[in-house]
């Protein structure tokens, strides 16, 4: 963060938060109940088990398409979702399963979407990269690198226009920072003072290209300075730290629409997608192992919560067993769900056609 902005944050006493954040950011964690903490932990475990189960289904040939696994990055989805209030919104790119589960989408609807089933969150029309739950303020799930960043900026615009006290968390990967749409978005957000926080999930590789080989200048978040925006780099291995550092930025966005950029350092254990044959070529096994051993967000949070007396070996085991069962059940649910009926091909293309408003005349589909 640019140095003076910490002061701004510390002295920002306004708060519309339900969960009081108070003067000191750390209070955001101090105020967590035992149940809150277990939920944070449980949701991370749930994401990991869901991802492992979906990989298994993929390997079984039960699902196809692209599958971008979130394993290793769970802390970010869980921490961001935990900070969201009623008027806060979240949008992300294609590595979206973790965010979907964190905002409260069910494993069943998420898994069924992977299977292309009618019971999927998008009725089997979107697939892995395109999960949506507007009722949970989750706006996708977007397949094109950086393509969601103007949309997130627009969500923030809408909040401000409607005078709602909320903010948009616009997530992107480290590869997206080199897309023009993102940099254009930063300019608009800063120019118009929009309540958006761009959250760069820096897992160090844009597909097979390391940050060093793709991005000039580091940290990536520092580019915000060109737009007079505050920025911060966060260690993504700690749920607490993400919450602590992100919370005041969200609070400030809600209160006075100030945008900012955070870069959360993280790591994905798997390839860019499961089709990434070179996942252990463009980076060393040793590097991957080091992250798993020393920086794994679940393992670290587990240790913290054991120390705090929140978790015991028995509860850990129970949570894991439940998460595995939930994922297995979801796969079963998906497998037993029907594919969308043929006529679904032509619904959800146009609102006016689906709602038979008669405001549109003429021919809209051209199949013969």
């Amino acid at each position: 963060m640019s140095k003076n902005s910490n002061t701004t944050l510390e002295t920002d006493k306004k708060s519309g938060a339900k969960k009081q954040s108070g003067k000191k950011p750390a209070k955001i964690n101090a105020s967590l109940t035992r149940d809150d903490k277990i939920k944070l932990y449980r949701d991370m475990v749930r994401i990991r088990r869901f991802e492992e189960r979906s990989l298994h289904s993929y390997q079984q040939g039960r699902i196809g398409g692209f599958l971008h696994l979130y394993i290793g990055q769970e802390s970010i989805a869980v921490a961001t979702a935990s900070l969201m209030e009623d008027n806060d919104h979240l949008i992300t790119a294609y590595r979206d399963h973790g965010n979907a589960l964190s905002v409260g989408m069910t494993m069943n609807e998420c898994m069924a979407e992977l299977y292309g089933r009618f019971t999927g969150c998008s009725k089997g029309k979107g697939g892995s990269m395109h999960y949506f739950a507007p009722d949970k303020n989750f706006w996708g799930g977007h397949g094109i690198v950086g393509g969601q960043t103007p949309l997130g900026t627009g969500i923030a615009f809408a909040l401000k226009y409607k005078k709602l006290k909320g903010c948009c968390l616009c997530l992107l990967g480290d590869g997206a920072v080199n897309q023009g749409a993102y940099l254009e978005s930063l300019n608009l957000a800063a120019l118009w003072n929009l309540p958006v926080i761009y959250v760069i999930e820096n897992n160090r590789y844009s597909m097979g290209t390391s940050q060093k080989r793709s991005s000039a200048g580091a940290p990536l978040a520092r580019r915000a300075e060109s737009y007079d925006m505050d920025w911060e780099v966060i260690d993504g291995s700690s749920v607490y730290e993400i919450r602590e550092k992100l919370s005041p930025l969200m609070e400030r966005a809600r209160n006075d629409c100030t945008p900012s950029v955070v870069e959360i350092q993280t790591y994905r254990y798997r390839g860019h997608s499961v089709a990434d044959a070179n996942a252990e070529k463009y980076r060393s096994k040793k590097e991957i192992e080091d992250y798993k051993k020393n920086h794994d967000p679940i393992m670290l949070f587990e240790k913290t919560l054991i120390k705090e007396g929140v978790l015991t070996d028995a509860t850990i085991e129970e949570i894991d067993r439940e998460a595995k069962k939930e994922a297995t059940d979801a796969a079963k649910f998906a497998d037993e769900s029907p594919y969308p009926p043929q006529e679904e091909i032509f619904t959800d293309v146009y609102w006016e056609i689906d709602h038979r408003t008669g405001k549109n005349e003429g021919r809209i589909f051209f199949n013969d």
Partner: protein, 324 residues
């Protein structure tokens, strides 16, 4: 009935809709303080203020995407592209995001935006500013494409587009902005997807959209006066939805069709319409369907050559006479 300029008819449509619905906002380059590069939004910033009429930096990808994102939460942005040619730098937002979010969300999200601006050649500005992407847009399921040929249609269609809950791309024409048509004072809307016979005729159907309708009307006059050919001019008004019935009815009446549009010929809008006619009215045809499109090269700068490049009266008359 008062005669008003095409640009004023659009301006009135915006004013009425801004007045009617708090969620309508206009955004684009130079539309507010500058009053619009083509003065289409003149006076609206003064009347409705910064909140409703918003100048953007030159960042088409960002402000088109911003409009799409805002629309997901119920704002109804009317986004001006100074030229539709500039949509190419916002292609991902307009053609990926706007067109597919509803579908990919299984109908959970809709995108009630209007994207508008001029899409035409014939202005002596070279290839980069002369694109007519109505075929690209109409090609894309999820999008609607409207091309008003006159002030009356421009106002009625624009108001419908703003109230439409899907993304509607309205392609206007700089050469029409300064022309006048009769437009009533009282409010009216024109449904999207309804073609309009601009001139009844018995011998041949000239099927067009946008400014080509005006060129066809001029050509029809020449055909009548010089060759005693009674041409019907059908204004499609929108490409998607497409008034297939009106096209087929006209062709069934005249048994001949010349399709006129400013697209380049390959995969231009005329290609689709020709396919529909041959499939559904093959037995009614007394001659092959002919097309008059822009000539198949990047838009040329040199004025006399560009005038020959885009559809003109002479070329339409010549083409009609080839089959009649």
């Amino acid at each position: 009935m008062p005669q008003i300029l095409y640009r004023k008819a659009l301006n009135d449509a915006f004013a009425e809709e801004l007045e009617r619905d708090e969620n309508v906002v206009l955004i684009g380059e130079e539309i507010a303080e500058y009053n619009g590069a083509y003065k289409v939004t003149e006076g609206l910033h003064a009347r409705f203020g910064d909140r409703r009429v918003i100048d953007t930096p030159i960042s088409e990808a960002a402000f088109c995407g911003l409009g799409i994102g805002a629309s997901m939460l119920g704002i109804r942005p009317v986004i001006e592209l100074m030229f539709w040619s500039f949509s190419y730098v916002a292609f991902d937002q307009l053609f990926n995001n706007a067109a597919t979010v509803r579908y990919m969300s299984g109908g959970l999200i809709n995108v009630p935006i209007v994207v508008r601006g001029p899409a035409n050649g014939g202005t002596n500005v070279g290839a980069t500013h002369s694109h007519t992407p109505e075929n690209f847009a109409a090609y894309t399921p999820g999008l609607k494409v409207v091309c008003p040929s006159n002030a009356y249609d421009a106002k009625g269609l624009m108001k419908s587009a703003i109230r439409d809950n899907d993304p509607v791309f309205v392609m206007e024409n700089t050469l029409l902005y300064g022309q006048k048509w009769e437009v009533p004072d009282e409010e009216y809307l024109i449904p999207i997807g309804k073609a309009d016979i601009k001139r009844e005729g018995a011998d041949i159907s000239l099927i067009a959209h946008g400014r080509c309708v005006i060129t066809c009307l001029e050509a029809a006059k020449v055909l009548e006066e010089d060759y005693e050919i009674d041409a019907e001019v059908l204004d499609l008004r929108s490409i998607r939805p497409l008034d297939q019935e009106a096209i087929l009815n006209s062709v069934r009446k005249t048994n001949r069709a010349v399709l006129v549009d400013e697209n380049k010929p390959f995969c231009g809008t005329g290609a689709q319409i020709a396919a529909i006619i041959q499939e559904h009215a093959f037995d009614d045809l007394d001659a092959p369907v002919k097309r008059v499109s822009s000539l198949d090269a990047p838009q040329i700068y040199s004025k006399p050559l560009e005038d020959e490049m885009i559809p003109n009266v002479q070329r339409i008359v010549r083409t009609v006479r080839e089959i009649l």
